[in-house]
Subunit: 631 residues, 2 copies
């Protein structure tokens, strides 16, 4: 394709330069900022997570600071800083500085910074990397500090975390006397790449590289530290190091395995390092594992990790709907990873998955009012699965809030005078070209409710540049026009590419046909055999009891059922619904029988209304289904 | 129907009077006796279960006698005694007496008899009835002792268990100072009814009645004993007393809930007591709960309890196939319960379920060679589920061996000069009529491979009696003939009834049409939507990879596909297979896609061969499916 592994990656246009004013995300971001962010602060405060940094806990006190509390506070800080970047807020700023001051004060003289292992089990510092999340918490604190530095330009929090990272670098590594360890829950690897970018200090990149390369090497560090604790390595509760992607050196891994969030964070770091270091081994491992994931182990919603047992992956095509775990954090991690892979060659297959996850399995994780959350995102429900205000393990709410606060970064990438548009939403982006001249791009669109997108280029003067506009994988037909006439373009890896000299204020219009599509799953997906899902544009739809006169699980969709769309402004903050007719069997004829000799059921026709999957469970409790039996 | 709740129940003809010489069960019983019984002894011995009765365990020794080890040995003894009854064997007899002597010697001076709570945690005797299986183990020891007494006529083991039961009666009850307790795992209730029958001592029936009636009363005993242990009752690991059917007084229970084996043992005892005591409250509770179970929560195989989580029941129509728990013991318990309910009014709906479980979900639990066992009996497998030689929790193998050794008892029941034939298999039964005259019934049939059954009555003289012959629920068409001419009969609750004077040596022939049937599940069973199962006679069929050129999960059955049967003598110890054509999609056309816009798959026709479900996983490892998608 004319792209080499050694080509410099694209660079995402930061969210601070992308303003979304659209019909879809703008409101979600406002709710995220105005409701979710303060609510999560309150939860962190009320549950003792923030005060824990005062290190005042004493044995016997309840609650005991948990091993991953630090990460919840860190992710809230990260989200708060992102929010400040786009929406200055003195009260929020003061609140952030207050918490950050507590964290900085909690740092030990050697740089160590972890509440649980400072006050609860100080003797167990670094004693169980496999299970205890110490480096994971460090990673989230680093991400928070980087966000704070980027937002405020102040270094006190960043310096604190540099001290911690520098201390970590003395403990872990290949030098004599160092531990050959790495974290059972990946996270610090990608955080250290961010720290490298923020500080320019290559040692953080090298430390990330060390953690990634050491992973899965023999003899296994987790075995050794288990023996050092007097435990039998084979008594590992998760039974296999596939759980934490430490069953083999990362370059030799071929399939997605284990805990889904762990996997996403590791492979995100690998994608970063592959780009930074032009490392073909990491790159091909990423590509191989991505293909395994997206070709055999991903839900149509972009949810990943079907099993509650390991919060992760099982075998190919094992995608049960009602028991789908599909942790919100895992879908978010998939966005992180896909976004990083996308920067290599601007290949739309990564953007397609990123978009699929964002519009479906990620934002299903938060209620429309921003106040309750899903940890698990099943694709069918008998009516018992509902969002909760908070969780003992609160990773998902804090992941959602930081993602939505920084959503703009997923829309555009740039490499010199080449601009790629990955996602569509009304709003504006500004950047500078290689000669320092400003470029703005304004999108006018009602996407995702409508497929017409007009992009207007703001330039000081006629300028030669390459535009890459993603043609979504879900789109079977599109037109690209300038001044009403077709615009000549090539298509490279799913992007319409136009290289030419553009006039200031010039507009182009991309028209993406957005019919209702009936989606089938691969025949190996037993759970979806004989079933279809409805999709329109990037949105996967579902049926809810709230819209139907019979329980949703009884509704079947005939091959020839006419379906139409309608925007309903007062429904679920405004959604396009899909309407038509379903059939439902007459169950009264079964008269108490559970099994009978096969005969055609009498069926009745009932009105069907599908809503976007992300918006389910925002009304009355009831059944939900994404995959409908064919009538 | 002319039957009142106060009518005396039928009495099963004991297995000692029923000899099976048929094409189906005779070999299973031979394998059970010759292979399974000695193998289970060896496992009990090698794992320390038998030697544990020597009470020589000391702290720190491995293995530590487990709380339900006693029950495994007891069930093996029970099976051994049944085997001795029909097949005298001096070596087995000696082995049994040796183990029984150990058990008797392990009894405490007060009558207490439990290895774990004698040597491991003596201070915790009766401290946790909810979780610790003490009375459950007592129940199995009682069943063993009753079997031993019935087989040998010797009282030493029975007397030992009477002492234990008498001691238990001093501990539990409503008198001042007694514990108002009952066992978290039911079993002793039904065992005490057996002890009552063996000894004629009504106090054992009353103790059973006490345990049944106390269950679920408020204040809940399990709450009280938890508090006495210093635990919070609400910290109960199973979260709800539905787990052990103690959420409500048994007479008020309306739905089948919780742990499936626990439920079956409780309701078996309730059925016993309802019959013994003419207790309408227990009877109607049984009927209500049975209807809930068989109408909404039973697999087509007679497997019950879909969830691994609680080894039991969930919500109506939740019958996933690949994750079906369907514990072997639970299907056996369903046979116990159905058999007891059947004795009330000779209602075939109970016999139908009993037969369904026996021919499918029960005997699937043991390999054809009698040496490995399923704990779980899923209705679909991706090829990873295989029988094991033994389990840490070995309830299923020992339940199977005692069931098969006493199988004959499920075939006939008698009440005065009325004989009911519930199941069909070649062999002979002998009993005596009210006047003391002998009656034999000989069955000639190739059932379940063929539906023709000829019954010959052995009588000393012309005799008036009522024959009730079950017309199986799976049978849509039958004829009943005598000397080639239709025999006049009424049909009562699924039984063809003929009351007349029979001649010595008279034969009648029941011809049950046994076509291949395509079975559908109720539309509420989401897992089976768009699918059919194949059944012929009492046997549910399945597909296995071993017989197919493409993975079984891809095979679909067209509505009009011709199917035929063939007896294959050298396959799986001789089975009737169902043969025809299936269709399979061309998956190569998917080229790595996991989802795509719906379009008809290209399909190919492939030969299909279905085998009886019970016989799966006796060849190469591979996929299995009971429910096939409709093509």
């Amino acid at each position: 394709m004319g792209v080499t592994a050694n080509q410099r990656p694209l660079i995402p246009v930061p969210f601070t330069a992308v303003k979304l004013t659209d019909v879809f995300w703008a409101q979600r971001q406002a709710v995220n900022r105005e409701r979710t962010l303060p609510i999560e602060y309150r939860h962190c405060q009320e549950t003792g997570r923030i005060d824990a940094f005062k290190l005042a806990w004493e044995p016997g006190q309840e609650p005991e600071p948990h091993i991953f509390w630090d990460s919840d506070v860190a992710k809230w800080i990260e989200a708060g800083c992102y929010s400040l970047s786009t929406h200055p807020d003195t009260q929020l700023r003061a609140r952030l500085e207050e918490v950050i001051a507590l964290i900085i004060a909690a740092q030990g003289p050697d740089g160590y910074l972890n509440v649980h292992f400072t006050v609860v089990e100080p003797e167990k510092r670094w004693a169980n990397l496999r299970d205890q999340h110490e480096l994971y918490c460090a990673g989230h604190l680093i991400e928070a500090a980087v966000a704070h530095f980027q937002t405020t330009g102040e270094r006190h929090f960043l310096d604190c975390l540099c001290r911690y990272a520098d201390y970590i670098a003395t403990v872990f590594g290949v030098a004599p006397g160092q531990k050959h360890g790495y974290c059972g829950h990946e996270e610090i690897e990608l955080a250290l790449v961010k720290l490298y970018h923020a500080t320019g200090e290559a040692r953080y990149l090298r430390l990330s590289q060390y953690f990634v390369d050491e992973r899965g090497q023999q003899p296994c560090y987790f075995d050794e530290e288990a023996r050092a604790r007097g435990e039998k390595p084979e008594a590992y509760w998760a039974r296999t190091y596939e759980y934490c992607q430490a069953h083999a050196p990362v370059r030799e891994q071929t399939q997605i395995t284990g805990h889904a969030v762990r996997a996403m964070y590791l492979y995100s770091a690998m994608a970063d390092l592959a780009g930074e270091l032009h490392d073909d081994g990491l790159r091909t491992a990423c590509e191989r594992i991505w293909d395994d994931l997206c070709g055999t182990k991903m839900y149509v919603t972009g949810g990943i990790g079907p099993s509650r047992h390991n919060e992760g992956f099982t075998v190919p095509y094992d995608l049960p709907n009602d028991t789908a775990y599909a942790e919100t954090c895992a879908a978010i991690g998939l966005v992180f990873w896909g976004h990083r892979l996308l920067q290599w060659d601007c290949d739309a297959r990564y953007a397609d998955v990123m978009e699929r996850a964002l519009y479906n399995g990620v934002i299903s994780g938060v209620a429309l009012d921003g106040e309750t959350f899903f940890y698990e995102n099943p694709l069918a429900s008998r009516g018992m699965h509902h969002r909760q205000p908070w969780f003992g393990c609160a990773c998902c709410p804090t992941n959602l809030v930081r993602l939505l606060a920084s959503l703009g970064q997923y829309f555009y990438s740039q490499r010199d005078d080449e601009l790629a548009v990955h996602l569509y939403a009304a709003g504006a982006m500004q950047t500078t070209l290689t000669d320092g001249a400003p470029l703005t791009v304004t999108q006018q669109t009602r996407y995702p409710w409508d497929g017409e997108v007009t992009l207007t280029l703001g330039l000081d003067a006629p300028t030669a540049l390459t535009l890459r506009l993603r043609i979504p994988g879900w789109c079977r037909q599109y037109t690209l026009c300038s001044n009403g006439a077709p615009l000549a373009h090539s298509v490279e890896r799913g992007y319409a590419c136009v290289t030419r000299t553009w006039q200031p204020g010039e507009s182009i219009t991309l028209q993406l046909a957005m019919p209702i599509e009936r989606i089938a799953a691969h025949p190996h997906v037993v759970a979806d055999q004989g079933r279809v899902a409805l999709q329109r544009g990037p949105l996967v739809y579902c049926l809810e009891d709230a819209d139907h006169s019979v329980p949703v699980h009884l509704l079947a969709l005939d091959e020839d059922a006419a379906l139409s769309t309608r925007f309903v402004p007062d429904l679920l903050d405004g959604v396009v619904v899909i309407e038509g007719e379903a059939t439902a069997p007459d169950v009264t004829a079964w008269a108490g029988q559970l099994f009978r000799i096969q005969q055609a059921d009498n069926t009745t026709r009932v009105p069907l209304r599908a809503i976007p999957y992300y918006a389910w469970d925002n009304r009355m409790a009831g059944e939900m289904a994404v995959w409908l039996p064919k009538g």
